[in-house]
């Protein structure tokens, strides 16, 4: 389950932020997770408490906002919603869509005190 590694990276990012900005407690961590990305939100939630235990992120709430997939069609050049990575263009049927959103995984915001 690579989500453990990803959550370890999230905790490392939070710890690094604490060296830059003074805070003593993290109330919430808000992730932006691409719907076409490499991680399952449920798996991230599942391992968060165990990974965060004993770190600055312990006790924080993990909030995951899904970012929908979006692509650009190489034939009709329109921006279209993508349900999966190998979807065909819903407008013209062209099988090649270039993914332009929904692939990345980011720590967007921290609520701290």
């Amino acid at each position: 389950m690579h989500e453990v590694s990803l959550i370890e990276s999230v905790v490392a990012i939070v710890a690094e932020e604490r060296t830059r900005q003074a805070f003593s407690r993290v109330r919430a961590i808000r992730l932006h997770l691409g719907a076409l990305g490499h991680a399952e939100p449920e798996a991230l939630r599942f391992c968060f408490d165990a990974v965060a235990s004993g770190t600055i992120a312990e006790g924080a709430q993990l909030m995951i906002e899904m970012i929908p997939g979006e692509g650009r069609c190489s034939a009709c050049h329109q921006r279209v919603a993508m349900q999966d990575r190998f979807a065909a263009c819903p407008l013209c049927g062209n099988p090649q869509l270039l993914m332009i959103a929904g692939g990345d995984m980011r720590v967007a915001e921290l609520e701290v005190e």
Binding site: M1, H2, S5, L6, E8, S9, V10, A12, I13, A15, E16, E17, T19, Q21, A22, F23, S24, R27, L31, G37, H38, A39, G54, T55, I56, D84, R85, F86, P95, Q96, D104, M105, R106, V107, A108, E109, L110, E111, V112, E113
Partner: protein
């Protein structure tokens, strides 16, 4: 997990196979020390952003940071890639499910190419040095990474493994990832090419079931072709499936057992490795 720094590299067995040696740390790890203010006899209420505490007013605030979760891995991958480019090393990340024949393919490929190119291998498995030993039997240098509970190699582990290998100048580096069709997909190792192995004893729709692994691969090797006469595997349907996920992927049907189709794989490797060497040659 490394007990010195807490990094996820567990054991990089030394190249001689002589057991674990601790890896060299030439980079800073931010260490998160446990910090208990009360233990210092100090409860400082003025440490919030406002610098003071007013009863009833929280110092809670939101910090917008917008940081990529994979940025750290990608930074290590960038360092590995720069290292490969400086040494004109063609690095291949070899991916598949367990049991598709990656190591057998690798042994055969090394045997065919080792007279023509310097070769080194990084082996990734949860446990044992069995695969590295199979590679070393060919005479080529190999480092085994045991990921412990880990399900994939990351760029940090590969960087450590490189420290245990003699530099391969203008040669080939094969990185055999942990057998897993899901997790390794997210982790760039700094490789120049991704090769995914699928064997004909698996389902032809695997590229559709595990699209991440196939979406970013440069080449698919359809292995164990010698078994095709005994199976109902539909090669055409499999190719159609993988091209749906990745229209740019190249496909070769091979057998690591009989050698069928492997000449084309060797040409594929040598063509790319030669292009890399000539592009990196001084004066070009």
């Amino acid at each position: 997990m490394c007990t010195v720094c807490g990094c996820q590299t567990s054991i990089a067995a030394s190249e001689s196979g002589a057991g674990p040696t601790h890896h060299v740390h030439d980079h800073a790890h931010p260490h998160e020390a446990a910090h208990d203010h009360a233990a210092h006899g100090l409860l400082d209420f003025g440490r919030g952003s406002a610098g003071l505490e007013i009863a009833g007013l929280s110092q809670e605030r939101t910090i917008r940071i917008e940081r990529d979760i994979l940025a750290k891995n990608d930074a290590y991958a960038g360092r590995n890639r720069a290292r490969f480019q400086a040494g004109q090393v063609f690095a291949i990340n070899l991916l598949s499910s367990p049991g598709s024949g990656k190591t057998a393919l690798l042994v055969r490929t090394i045997t065919a190419l080792q007279g023509r190119w310097p070769i080194a291998v990084i082996e990734g498995d949860q446990q044992t040095s069995n695969d590295a030993e199979r590679i070393r039997a060919t005479g080529v240098r190999a480092v085994q990474i045991n990921t412990g509970k880990g399900c994939h190699l990351d760029a940090h582990m590969v960087g450590h493994a490189l420290d245990h290998l003699p530099p391969v100048k203008a040669g080939l580096l094969f990185i055999e990832n942990v057998g897993n069709l899901v997790c390794p997909a997210a982790f760039d190792l700094g490789e120049a090419a991704r090769v995914v192995v699928l064997s004909v004893t698996e389902g032809e729709d695997k590229p559709l079931k595990y699209p991440d692994m196939f979406a970013f691969a440069d080449l698919m090797l359809l292995n164990k072709s010698d078994l095709l006469p005994h199976l109902d595997f539909d090669v055409g349907a499999c190719m159609e499936a993988v091209l749906r996920v990745n229209p740019r992927i190249q496909i070769l049907t091979v057998s690591a057992r009989t050698g069928e189709g492997l000449a084309a794989f060797y040409d594929w490797i040598e063509g790319r490795a030669a292009a890399l060497s000539s592009a990196g040659a001084p004066g070009d």
